[in-house]
Symmetry: C2
Subunit: 314 residues, 2 copies
């Protein structure tokens, strides 16, 4: 690839944060290149229906919403290319964005690579994702009113999620791989453990892992393996919520900008990273990951774009 002219703005990954940033930079008449390794939309594409994106009274399919954002960004001049950024090389005034196909340079970079939930390592889990297997209770809990749920994950966020799901579900069974008397059984704080134990809708399945998620079009049950006895059992349930951690997609940023110990991008309130001219927005950013919500990422995309424009005018 011949070396291109430097860009004003390069946005890395076309999720809700990146595409909103592209809409804002585009409307500021800044030429912007968006680099997305798969299809625009990010993690949102893997959910089914979205009911909480403000402005859509009825549920909207995630890929449809993301296609709208993509077209909106394109309308204001954003160029979206499919490629994978493998490295950023910050520079004085001009940053290098390296892909397997070549090199881009830009005066500002907006990092919006997102994060991914750690997947449940069980047969059928990937196939039934968005059809009973969920990685987001805030997003999907509402769809499980009166249903029977299992929750995988016994850390603080797993128990918080299980307690939240009792608002909707008939029952929430928490699957825990350790025996009840094992100090490793919970990683959650004692107060959350107490609340979960006291909640009449919550029960615990000790010593067990999910071996398989069952169902054709929708989850109908799970096969659990008892690690103490080696035996399996089948449980009829309607939903599997998984909360075993998130992985920010920031490997390509190591050594380029400050990341925290878990790999999240560190910024200030104005979404400035440790490198002048490089901004970050969305779920890979240190504070946003607590929520992992599209509209929150989108709001951050707008902030990053406004700050990038101010930086360029400065």
């Amino acid at each position: 690839m011949p070396e291109e002219k430097p860009h004003d703005v390069i946005i890395i990954v076309a999720g809700p944060a990146g595409l909103t940033a592209a809409i804002y930079t585009g409307r500021a008449l800044l030429p912007v290149l968006v680099i997305e390794k798969a299809v625009p939309g990010g993690q949102l594409n893997e959910t089914d229906l979205i009911e909480n994106w403000p402005g859509f009274e009825e549920a909207v399919a995630a890929p449809e919403l993301m296609e709208k954002l993509r077209r909106q960004a394109a309308r204001f001049g954003a160029e979206i290319v499919q490629d994978e950024v493998i490295r950023i090389e910050p520079g004085e005034g001009l940053h290098r964005v390296v892909t397997p196909h070549g090199l881009h340079t830009a005066r500002t970079v907006i990092l919006a690579p997102g994060s991914r939930p750690r997947e449940l390592p069980a047969k059928g889990a990937a196939r039934l994702k968005g059809r009973g297997v969920s990685y987001c209770a805030t997003c999907d809990g509402f769809f499980f009113q009166g249903k029977r749920i299992i929750e995988v994950g016994a850390g603080d966020s797993g128990l918080t999620e299980a307690l939240f799901l009792t608002r909707f579900a008939e029952s929430v069974k928490i699957v825990i791989r350790h025996p009840e008397d094992d100090p490793k059984a919970f990683r959650a704080s004692p107060i959350l453990q107490k609340r979960a134990r006291e909640n009449p809708k919550i029960s615990f399945l000790w010593n067990r892992i999910v071996e398989e998620v069952l169902g054709e079009d929708r989850v109908t049950g799970v096969i659990l393996r008892n690690l103490a006895t080696g035996e399996t059992e089948t449980l009829e349930i309607d939903g599997v919520f998984v909360n075993i951690g998130h992985v920010p997609q920031t490997d390509f940023l190591k050594g380029a900008v400050n990341l925290d110990d878990d790999g999240y991008i560190v910024t200030d309130k104005r979404l400035r990273t440790s490198i002048p001219g490089i901004f970050a927005a969305g779920d890979a950013r240190i504070d946003a990951n607590r929520y992992a919500q599209g509209v929150i990422a989108a709001g951050e995309g707008a902030i990053a774009a406004i700050e990038a424009e101010k930086y360029l005018s400065g």
Copy 2:
């Protein structure tokens, strides 16, 4: 009014932040009361077309977008009433929300009263708002490509806005009430003054105020008064951008939660105010006002709702 049962959540003002909070609390099956003194939509209603709300490829009229948010919140059970909150009385566990018509109580309160731009005190300015008179360059600059603009406001944000508008406009004339050699002429930092003076599209109209904005359906010109000579002159222009400050709508909160010196609500990153159980989101909040963008306020509404739910479950 007979005293009602305590609410789980009361949201004060149905703008983008408040209505998004209502969508999120509603989907968490929390009964929520939204109190709005006028019509839902907040400051956004006073703009004309919105092109940067992510998900709307084509421009959408502000009242139409806000009506969609209102219906979406109502779909998830939000009750929206027209009333004006005159006082909040924080309590231990239960907060009192006082209106001229009575008293509501709630375990959590989400404050989203917004802020308003200080209006240009000139004849015709109110009538032509959204039709050539704008209080938001980020929102409306794009509509003024190749146009002639005047900017009112010589503080940091006024000059930043004028510089931003040179991306679009043919010319930007900055109207300043003081003479050029008056130290009070600019409140902006020297670096911004220098940049504005060096920009070939920017010129200055010293000693002048806008006395009247002219135009039938759209702005066609302004009448300026020269404060040194007393004379008036008519200038043909297409747009008037006003940046003479914002006023957070927080008078009713004085003494109830911590406000900063300008009246903005102080919160932490999780949008918790100084009072446990009371949260704040949107343009009346200390950091959001820097941007005054609907989608940023909406993202904050989602955060406040998630945090309120966690607080109630705690």
